[in-house]
Structures are given as structure tokens and as C-alpha cells.
Symmetry: C2
Subunit: 364 residues, 2 copies
Amino acid sequence: MPAKEVSIAIIGAGGVGKCFLSQLSSLAVRRPSPKINLCYIATSRKALYNDDYSPIAVDGAIDALASSTKSPLDLPKAIEYFAAAPTKVVLVDNTSSQDVAEAYPLALSRGVSIVTPNKKAFSGSYKLWQDIFSAAESSGAKVYHESSVGAGLPVISTLKDLVDTGDKVTKIEGVFSGTMSFLFNSFAPLEGQGGQWSSEVKKAKELGYTEPDPRDDLNGLDVARKLTILARLAGLPVESPTSFPVQSLIPKQLESCSSGDEFLQKLPEFDSEMEQTKASAEKSGKVVRFVGSIDVASKQVKVGLEMFDRSHPIAALKGSDNIISFYTERYGSNPLIVQGAGAGGDVTAMGVTADLIKVLSQIS
Amino acid sequence: MPAKEVSIAIIGAGGVGKCFLSQLSSLAVRRPSPKINLCYIATSRKALYNDDYSPIAVDGAIDALASSTKSPLDLPKAIEYFAAAPTKVVLVDNTSSQDVAEAYPLALSRGVSIVTPNKKAFSGSYKLWQDIFSAAESSGAKVYHESSVGAGLPVISTLKDLVDTGDKVTKIEGVFSGTMSFLFNSFAPLEGQGGQWSSEVKKAKELGYTEPDPRDDLNGLDVARKLTILARLAGLPVESPTSFPVQSLIPKQLESCSSGDEFLQKLPEFDSEMEQTKASAEKSGKVVRFVGSIDVASKQVKVGLEMFDRSHPIAALKGSDNIISFYTERYGSNPLIVQGAGAGGDVTAMGVTADLIKVLSQIS
């Protein structure tokens, strides 16, 4: 007999967390079974939960949380609380916290399933990765993380399906950062001249497409994290996101700037370098893009600038879209391609909600 | 306690069926749990099964089937046999049979789950569609059919995730036929002149890209069936694949040809018509493609020739690839795009195997 009630616990109530709550609220209306009880919601400073697990109203949870006087439980305590619930519990981690990520093996080993967009758990040390999946394996708890790469785009699920059905993935290549996509589509567009590098970076920041300090995008680490996740799913035991070549677009001399603003102010001095890269691509009829690639056979993972023919799908990308191409034995010379917005609260939350539905269908 | 054994029954042992068996064989090696017992395999003329449900070896099943002296069970009898099995049963329908499709409601109501690439069940009458999903709903049996559109490409699963998480799909547009893709990518390519229409059709047939009688591709019905499925998943109660405008590329005068060969022989007489269409697209800087589209708001579904800017992803398609664009409220002006091979035994079987894995994770 399937369980008719499942509890969910949410950590994180920022941009993605708010969008997720709104999707959760309408999910409960559309899919009455299993009944979903919200048993815990917390930020890093506050929490909302009842000792007897009586459910918290999803609508209005954000406001109630803001006026709550309870502190969040320590992670081991929180996991104890989830594990002792009268129903199965799914932990929805909507943070990007390393600490929460490191608690996944404990949660999973106690039978708590996890859905999350948090990249840290899957792109940290290879040991953490192994601990997470072996804990899930032995307890039967589920762990889904579609939104850790490409937000709601079907990237992780597609790669898993390819691997699980026995296809041989030979290469994965793509634009994995909305920020980098926007920057290069404006700096080196297919049509027209494009702006100066430093002004495009400034514009991207103004439009909210970059982190508060744009260097957190330009260092390539975000892309390296996503590549680490995909490479591991494709079977490569990548040690960490710093264990393969990652090209940073931060000029050496600006690494030590004390703020993002100082960085942006000095960046124009280095425009000629990027201008040269663009010109040399143009000379050979190509455009430059910031991509990540995984060559499975040679076990090479790398992140950085590459040149593409103007007719290549990566060159034709628009706005801040991501594109991910899977080259496999079955698909032959034309890859399986997934493309679209790879960032934003709503589409990230969508990946989380879709994962939650998949977990519910398995544990209830 | 999860079930440790599940039985599967296979109907159909053609191109897709053979590829599926090979994937099933390696799946059993990679994923030992749940144990999968093949309890029945049949074509339209022969069958292999044991009254006591003792498992049939997957390796060599095709040869054993060929030398079997048993006839297939009538569908109601077969379903009775599945429903009485000591384990849960998944029926894998690798046929394109209308008869098998019509037996789905009975199978599902008896608790037999179904995975299939068979379009007929989901693109036939709207009543059959309703019967299938209400039978599944009430018994708890699962029905998955990823490969009914775009073979193994994540099309159905992506659309379901969008709908299930509460996104509002506004439009779906794409090239849904590998044959049509190949024909138009060669007849009206982005680069170069392209061949004559009738010679491209002949070439496609020689390369095995068309049905034995190419009119079965050119009438647009295959695309109309796929559109019917997607439209229904997006919430439109489309009555049948003939209840909306479908443009046939068979000249009226050639509809009555007695054979595909006669049709191919006479087709050159009608080349000027297609040549005109191509020229008029070129005049406005566009290319012509055979597409299907669903406008959800206005409830308009249609299949036929349309013109696209040369920079449009549909114009840039290669080989016999499919492309499917989902326009939704969350994704805004840039659609979520899935692209790649949408036909072929291996990639079609991949969709079936991936579906089987999803069903196993829910019923075992």
C-alpha cells in the first residue's frame, strides 16, 4: 500500500527557495496524493517547525519564517528530527551551502531523501560524492539534483538515461554559464560588431546577470563545478573542480582588487587582450565562446575560451542561454542537444520541483 | 519492503525490439536489482512463454522465438497471463500495432504497467487516451511512452516536467520527422543549392530514411500523430490526428498510384511546384521546412510547410535530426530546445529502456 503522506523539509528561502515554495503550493492543489506536509523550513538564521511534526502552511511560510523566534537546528539535530518523523521525509536544500552539502551522507543514511540545486555536494571532493551515493544506495533514500547543472533544463536526467541504458558517452561540450553566454553573445555576436569587453561585463552586472563581484563568474569555477558533476556522471572519477585546466578571465593583475567595483573600474585597461582574441577568431571566420568540455575517452576535462565556426550551434546561442551537447556512440556524429535558459529562480525551482515529483513517485 | 523481482513481457521483435533486447541484456548485468524475469516474448506469429512463468533467457531470445512452435496468446488471454504472474509485470510493446494499443486500458486496469514507443495508443481517439490514463490512475500501474515522439530524445519527459511543475506551455514547434528533416535539409540547405525535390525523395528512400512507400512519410500523418500526443500532454483535448490541418506533400494526382515505385517514377513531373515554394522562401531570405506546431492559447495545431529565417535553429538543423522547441511562461522568449536523432532502432530502444528503468524504480 503506497504511503499517502510525505513530509518535506526545506533549507534555504532565497530566490530559488521562494520560487520553489510557490511551485510547491500549486503542486499540492494539482496533485493531492501523496499529501505533502511541510515539517521544517529554515534559513541560516531562523527556522519554523513543530516538535510534533504538525504541518506548516506552505502559503505564507516565508512571512511566518521571518517572524519566527526559533533558530535553525544544527544539521545533525535537524537530520535526527527528519529521520524520526512519522512519515518519509524529503529534504529540499535550496542553499548553495557547503555545510549542508556535507550533511547529505548522514541524511541519506538515515533514510531522508534529498532534492537540491546545490552544486557543492556533487562538485566537491570525490570522496563526498562517493559517500553521498553509497549512503543512498544502502538506505534506499533518493538523491536528485537536476538543477545543479543548467537549472531546469533536462541535462542530468538525460545524461543519466544515456548512461543507464548503456550508451557510451564520448564527449560533452557546451556553454554552462548564463553569465558567460550573455557576455560572449554580446561581445562577439554573429551579427554586428559587439561591444567592448569591459563594458559588456559592466552591462551584465547592471542587468543582474553576474554575481555581486563579477570575478566570481569570470574565474570559471562555476562552470568547472558543473563539468565536474557531468564528468562524474559519465564515469570519470574527477577529483575536484580544480583538478583540471580552468581558464580564468580575470587578468592576473586584477585578482587582488579589493572589490568588484575596483575590478570593474580597472578592467578597461585589459580590453585589448580580449579584443585580440576576438579579432583572431574573426580572421579565421569564427567566433570565440567560453565553453566547458569533457572528452570521456581521453579523460580530459577543460574550461575556457574556444573558437567555433559561425554555423556551430554554440556560436548561434542567444541571450543568456545554455547549450549542452552530448556526443554518444548511439547518436553518432550529430549530438543530442539541450538548450535554453540555464539560470533564474523560476527555472531552477522547476528542476527542484520536477525532482521532488520523481522522488515522491518512488517513495510514496 | 521493495519487490526484488519484476517480470517483463515483450510484444514485437523487429528493429526496435531487437535493439531493446540487447539493451535489456546489458541492463541486467549493470543493475542486478530488481531481478528482471522475461516471462513472455511474442511477434504477431510466434510466442515464447512458460505456463509456470519460469524465466526465458534474454540472450538468445530472438533465436529461440524463431524456432518456437507456440502461437502468441490472444491479447485478453495474454493480459490474463501477465496479471496472474507471481511478480509485477511490465509489458513492453515494441510494435506499432493498433490492436495492441487498444488492449492497454485492460492491461493497465489489471495492474500491468506499460512502456512503449507505439504512437497508436496515444494518438488514436481521445477516448482511448482517456481510457488508458484513467485505467493507470485507478490501478496504480504505470504507462510511459517517451519514444512515441522523437525516439530517445527527452521530449515527453520534458513536457511532462514543465506541465507537472506548473509552467504554462504557450507553444510547441519543431521538426518531428527524421525523413522530413533529411529531405528539406538536402532540398533547401542553408549552404549551396540543394537537389531536385524528386531526386531527394528517391535518395532518402535508397538510404533507408523513408517508409517502403515514401507517401507514408510525405502525407504528414506521422508528424500529426506526434503533435496529437504533445498537444494532449499540454492540455488540449485533440480528438484525433486528422482533426486539425495537415499538409500532405503528395500531389493529388499521385495519391492513387498503385505503388511507391510508380509514385517515385511520376514525382519529377511535380518538381516545379516544390521548386517554386523554395524560390519564394529564398526571395525573402528564408528557407522552407516541414514543421508541426501547437499554439496552446489559441488551441491551434497544424502540420505543414513553413518558412524560417536562415538564423533560426529550425533552419540550421542537420542530417535527419529532429528539433523540438518548448515556449513557456517561465522560459520566456527563448524556448527550451531539444535536438538530435529522432529515429533509429538504438535511440528508440533507448527511450524504451529508460522508461523501463523509471517504471522499475516505482514498482519495485
